[in-house]
């Protein structure tokens, strides 16, 4: 159970990083310069 929770937490954290820094950030003005 702990193993599952740690791995699931890790994957969720990675998804959150991708979403926060790449996906959700690109709706702002920044995306124009970023790409």
């Amino acid at each position: 159970m702990t193993t599952f929770l740690v791995n699931a937490g890790g994957l969720a954290l990675m998804a959150a990083i991708v979403w926060w820094f790449w996906l959700s950030g690109s709706n702002s003005d920044n995306s124009d310069q970023h790409h």
Binding site: V6, N7, G10, M14, W20, W22, D29
Partner: protein, 867 residues
């Protein structure tokens, strides 16, 4: 100070390429504007600023008639809103106001910057604090670009300034940078900003050292205590002590590394990640894990009850130490500019109403008469009115020998009067002086970023989030397949990855080297205007040179006068009559000869200079022409009778100038221009660097051949019109060469602009040559190989830095993640990662500073040789 009329950009012009054109336009508009002082010609923007109330349509007509097609510009302000109408300092329109409205005398500094170097004039420069790495650069540039009106934004990590071009509100720019997690303020006066920055840096250095001492002291203390007297493992006996130590560590972390956490939080809010993010996450993870261990040790297996408070404290201490060292080294890189700033005199001895008085240099006005005694520095630019002396201009031009100056000669601010006492009249003050222009150019170039640096920025923008992903992946791998205690290993691996991966070295790699390289070039009298030129100059494999004033002295002398009817004095009188209206070096030679022979100059009217052909005017109702054979023949005149004399002139590397009155050819005058003493040696240096040298000249083939042979030039093109020089440059570029064009910046402007790198040869007082990317302040051609050698050394240095930074990160991250563990059982400690990270930025900065010791291959020229 009196109320000076306000100037407005009134005309857009074309075809004005040099200071000579600007002078013509000023003179032409003098009757309309009241004074040439009230006409400002901006060669780069191709505009003319005039006082309010001047008939702009009439001005346009006059300028067009002078030879520069001009158009009136619509009244400014109509589209810029009401805020611009009141004061130029109004923040919402200050950049626009700077561009379009200024007073010629009062804020001379701003007026000059707005007209002379507009690329700078319409930009807002911010002093930024808290930026430490390539990701910060990216975040700040993104934040600035998001402000409406910004067309270009650039952050320079080497001197912590950000420049935003366009017409954005400066306050909005400050807000944007602040909301991205950094401090910012607008730099109003760049000169005082330098002093202020130096003070701030000193203070910051001390603060960082204190912070370092506290956090490193705690970390080391904990480590020694843990290893020597207690244990880093939590037991029932020491649990309470560890809890107290954990709280103490948190206090120290906040006190000495608080800026990392606030910076990280601000960046996070804006979907950005930077070096602060990595440090905050790394140290935060270590502390959080440790506090969980000491609070609920029973939740973890016994082997995993290890605390890492000392790691958090020591990492912060080491990074503070790294930043302190970096700050100190950064200060050294801007030494070149500081040395230039130190050249400025603080006071001037002005003669007003017959009284001599010492006044601050800022209060000196144009037209003031200034006395300078031996051993004193000249406070402003001007023209000697009384006395003669020898002036040491080495600080501006790199020329080691003092130069003789007498009445009527121009002198520059910052130079040293070595010999006699002189009185001179101020012609350029404040930021109009050559010295101020040089400082401005050097600063601007130091802040610019070559293409290679932009690549590093692109990479770093995705770098930090990627590192975060790698940290999570390595933690999971350690948890799932690593040995016990898995929890400890996963925490150590993730923390170490986060700490070691900080891209600070990557962010510093390019700007540090550019800053030192541009400063070094300035020491050698080469002003590099853009970082890109620095990078391209290293790749040059063909140098095309103009002849007159570049390879040769540019002060030709008359070698032969041959009249068809034998009356040489009449020939000289007419030629001098024509040339007295011209500023061309050939004209000076003819006038000098006429004066020497005591020939009275004829009154020729209707003077007109025809580029690449010659000059013409009217005498006794007849057209008089003085120029090259091709032109006269094209006008239907035969010069065959003068063939023999012309050939003799060209054999001596002279230029034959044919004089005709009406349809009758009167004679030929030979003018020769000596090769500069060091041109041959400079060309030899280019050859040794593997660079081909080519000469383009408007001269006839025989003259060109003679000069090329004497100077050791590989190839030449003769009888090239000024406008065709650019074509030669394009042709050679088309053949695959990376071409540098070297010219005196007057007729060569299009060719200078067409080349990959344009070198303008100027004197110390003529540095603002607009079309070239590199200006050589000294007349010597050695400046070209010097600049190329410095450029090559700088690019090599950038490559070393980038290579080092990339290798550090690409090796450091896998090692930190534990890649060596399966083979050798090595897992890096987070403390070591912190030290390595600090070391990497210190290494990059130190390597860039190594450039300061670079010496070019220029031979030391003795005083006798120069004279």
């Amino acid at each position: 100070m009196g109320e000076a009329p306000v100037l407005r950009t009134a005309l857009s012009i074309s075809g004005a390429s040099c200071q000579g054109c600007a002078k013509k336009i000023r003179n032409a508009l003098e009757p309309l504007a009241g004074s040439t002082e009230l006409v400002e010609v901006n060669l780069e923007a191709q505009t003319v600023a005039l006082p309010e109330g001047v008939d702009v349509a009439e001005a346009a007509r006059i300028v067009t008639e002078t030879g520069y097609p001009a158009e009136a510009i619509a009244e400014p302000g109509a589209e810029s809103g009401s805020c611009c109408a009141s004061k130029k300092t109004t923040s919402c329109c200050s950049s626009k106001a700077q561009e379009e409205t200024h007073k010629p005398d009062e804020p001379a500094a701003e007026a000059a910057s707005a007209t002379e170097v507009p690329a700078d004039g319409d930009a807002v420069v911010l002093a930024v604090t808290g930026a430490t790495c390539a990701s910060c650069v990216n975040s700040i540039e993104k934040a600035l670009m998001s402000v409406p009106g910004v067309t270009h934004a650039h952050m320079n990590l080497a001197d912590n300034t950000a420049t935003a071009s366009g017409d954005a509100d400066p306050q909005a720019l400050v807000n944007a940078v602040e909301s991205a997690g950094y401090g910012a303020r607008v730099i109003e006066d760049p000169d005082s900003a330098d002093d202020r920055k130096q003070e701030e840096d000193k203070k910051q250095y001390k603060v960082l050292l204190v912070k370092m001492a506290i956090s490193l002291g705690l970390g080391l203390g904990l480590m020694i205590w843990g290893m020597g007297f207690g244990s880093m493992m939590v037991t029932e006996a020491n649990q309470l002590t560890w809890i107290n130590l954990g709280i103490l560590t948190l206090g120290v972390m906040v006190a000495t590394g608080g800026h990392f956490y606030t910076g990280a939080w601000k960046a996070f809010k804006h979907h950005n990640a930077n070096m602060d993010t990595l440090i905050a996450l790394g140290t935060g993870t270590a502390w959080l894990y440790s506090i969980v261990v000491v609070s609920i040790p029973e939740a973890l297996p016994e082997m995993a009850r290890h605390v890492y408070f000392e790691a958090s404290a020591m990492i912060i201490g080491l990074i503070n130490l790294g930043q302190a060292l970096e700050l100190r080294a950064k200060g050294k890189t801007s030494e070149a500019v500081r040395r230039l700033l130190d050249l400025r005199a603080k006071t001037a001895r002005v003669i007003r109403d017959g009284q001599e008085q010492d006044i601050p240099v800022e209060d000196v006005q144009k037209g003031d008469r200034i006395r300078v005694r031996p051993g004193e520095k000249l406070p402003v630019d001007g023209v000697i009115a009384e006395g003669s002396t020898r002036i040491d201009e080495s600080m501006l031009t790199g020329e080691p020998m003092p130069v003789s100056k007498g009445e009527g000669d121009e002198v520059s601010a910052g130079t040293l009067n070595t010999h006699g006492s002189i009185i001179y009249e101020a012609t350029r003050v404040g930021s109009e002086t050559a010295l101020a222009q040089i400082i401005k150019l050097v600063k601007k170039a130091q802040g610019s970023k070559p293409a290679i640096g932009r690549l590093a920025d692109k990479i770093s923008s995705v770098f930090v989030p990627t590192v975060m992903l790698i940290a999570v992946v390595s933690a999971l791998v350690w948890y799932n397949v690593g040995p016990e205690p898995a929890v400890v290993h996963m925490m150590v691996a993730a923390t170490t990855v986060l700490i070691i991966a900080c891209p600070c070295a990557l962010g510093l790699a390019t700007p540090m080297s550019v800053m030192v390289g541009v400063g070094k070039a300035a020491e050698y009298g080469a002003l590099i205007r853009q970082g890109d030129a620095l990078q391209t100059a290293g790749k040059i494999d063909l140098v095309i040179m103009d002849k007159t004033g570049t390879i040769t002295e540019g002060h030709p002398a008359v070698t032969r006068v041959h009249a068809v009817d034998g009356d040489e004095n009449r020939l000289l009188a007419l030629a001098a009559g024509l040339e007295q209206h011209s500023e061309h070096p050939l004209a000076e030679a003819i006038l000098a000869r006429a004066k020497e022979d005591e020939v009275s100059v004829e009154a020729v009217t209707g003077f007109e200079a025809l580029n690449g052909k010659g000059v013409q005017g009217e005498f006794n109702g007849e057209p008089v022409r003085l120029g090259n054979r091709r032109w006269l023949e094209a006008e239907g005149l035969s010069v065959d009778a003068l063939n023999e004399a012309a050939q003799a002139i060209t054999r001596e590397a002279g230029t034959p100038l044919f004089l005709a009155s009406g349809q009758q050819v009167l004679g030929v005058i030979g003018v020769a221009d000596a090769i500069k003493p060091d041109s041959k040696a400079a060309i030899e240096r280019l050859h040794q660097a593997g660079i081909k040298v080519m000469m383009v000249t408007g001269d006839v083939d025989a003259t060109a051949r003679a000069i090329a042979a004497k100077a050791g030039i590989d190839d030449y093109r003769a009888e090239v019109l000024p406008e065709d020089k650019a074509e030669v440059v394009s042709e050679m570029r088309g053949k695959g060469y990376t071409v540098a064009m070297v010219g005196d910046g007057i007729n060569d402007a299009p060719a200078l602009a067409a080349a990959d790198v344009g070198f303008a040869i100027g004197t110390g007082t003529d540095v603002a040559i607009e079309s070239a990317s590199i200006t050589l302040m000294r007349g010597s051609l050695h400046g070209v190989p010097d600049a190329i050698e410095i450029s090559r050394a700088t690019v090599k240095n950038i490559h070393q830095n980038l290579f080092g930074a990339f290798v550090y990160n690409s090796l450091g991250i896998p090692v930190a993640a534990g890649l060596l563990y399966p083979v050798w059982g090595i897992l890096m400690s987070p403390i070591l990662a912190g030290a390595a990270m600090s070391l990497s930025s210190v290494t990059v900065v130190t390597n860039a500073n190594r450039l300061r010791l670079f010496k070019t291959s220029q031979p030391q020229v003795s005083a006798e040789e120069r004279n």
